[in-house]
Amino acid sequence: MNGSVNHRELCLEVHEHPVTAIVFGDKTVLEGTRLTVNVADIRAIAAEEDALADIEVAVARPGEAVRIIHALDAVEAMTKVAGPGTVYPGFLGPPLTVGRGTTKKLTGMLILSTTEFPEATSGGLGYREGIIDMTGPGQPYCQASNYINLVVSYKPGQGATNQELDDAVRRATLRIAQFIGKTSVNLAPAKITKYELAPVSPDLPRIVYIDQIMSQTLMTRTFIYGQQLVDSLPTLIHPNELIDGAIVSGNYKNLQKVATYLHCNKPLMKELYRRHGVDLNFVGIVINRGHRDTFDLKEHGAQYAAKLAKMLGAQGAVVAFEGGGGATVDFMLTVKACEQLGIHPVAEMFEQAAVGSGEFPIVYHVPAADAIVSRGATSEMITASKMDRVLGGSHRLVLYGGATVIEDASQSFAVATDEYWGVNWQLGESRFVAREY
């Protein structure tokens, strides 16, 4: 397979423009590593959406005593300067296949959207709050806490429904991200990386990345090329497509969420790419939706994903877990299906029992899951620090699925680490593991 395909067609050059400071001013411009933002430009982009009434913009830096609440998504500021399509295809342009040509990215910063949904939500359709602490003991548990965040807080327009607001915030945020990305257009990048799955030695082990992605209903959606990933069959995707933003997050189930910037920078994708041609052959990515409705459908999805991996010639698979309890079944069945097809599986997941609880850390397992990497246990009580500023809305914070209300979100309070934004994935990035005592 690798020997016969010309990979020049699937080559993406990424230009990195690091940002170390964001300030406000009269003109939106990138000078060196300093980004100046004219808030009127941002407001004008948001104003294109009927469901949005107004915005506030603020900056939060890593290490600052800032807490961000009501966070929805965090998105990379980037733009495509050569090659077909646009970044965030399906949203910012027609859904042409991306991952080729040249993309410019402002690194070290993210556009972070926040809003408060006007309609009450509950159950599976419910929004589940997650907080971002830019400093303090909570910081390692949050996605986006290591970046300078340009926080855009959206006020819903009159009569906007939750879905209308959600869609509008997403479109506006992606457009803002591209707009900011365009400040790099005539500038020389600090770093250029070529992403290409070039042919490598046939002796290198062929490894596939099987990514389980969550997508259910409003509040738990994930998009691929602008379309919701619903009961679709597992499919193949090239890592360059992820880098260009083909997968966008609309998942507001705090624990399980993967922010859009993280889809663009999936840790396993980055690691496999880094080692492609060095000690392995990265054969590609299979994405499989978890949370399928019945056991039979879960098994079907799992087997289908493993079969795609087999068709890529995979000898080993890293299977990554995303989702809640029931999705553990989809995940473990995928591990089993790989083993049954002679693909060596490694299961990469977070632990589902609270730290020190003595409970078994996985809700469901299969004997084939004999090689598990643990991102650590997600629930541990810590003390969230007192903050100087709260961004993202009013001070009132509602956690624990509605059972705990904190009146002043800037205060210090006892919190379970699974209230931090996107903790299930961030644990792995923050180099946690759990050990047995």
Binding site: G124, D293, T294, F295, G325, G326, T328, V329, V363, Y364, H365
Partner: protein
């Protein structure tokens, strides 16, 4: 006293050690005793059948976790 868990995720129930498990085939985990695309009367008849199956499961002697199907 005997208990029966009625669930579509029967393997999870087995793993946590539940002894009598009924797996209904036409329902999903969102509605273990419902099949909304049936007309109401037919859905009710199906549900009655599922409950009868659950009671029958309660009457079965079992050695350990066992999945019964409906």
């Amino acid at each position: 006293m005997p208990t029966v868990i009625v669930t579509c995720l029967q393997d999870v129930a087995v793993q946590v050690g539940a002894n009598r498990i009924l797996r209904p085939h036409r329902s999903t985990f969102h509605r273990p005793f419902g099949v909304p695309d049936l007309e109401l009367d037919r859905e009710r008849a199906w549900r009655r059948g599922a409950v009868e199956a659950a009671l029958k499961t309660l009457q079965q002697p079992v050695e350990g976790p066992q999945v019964f199907e409906y």
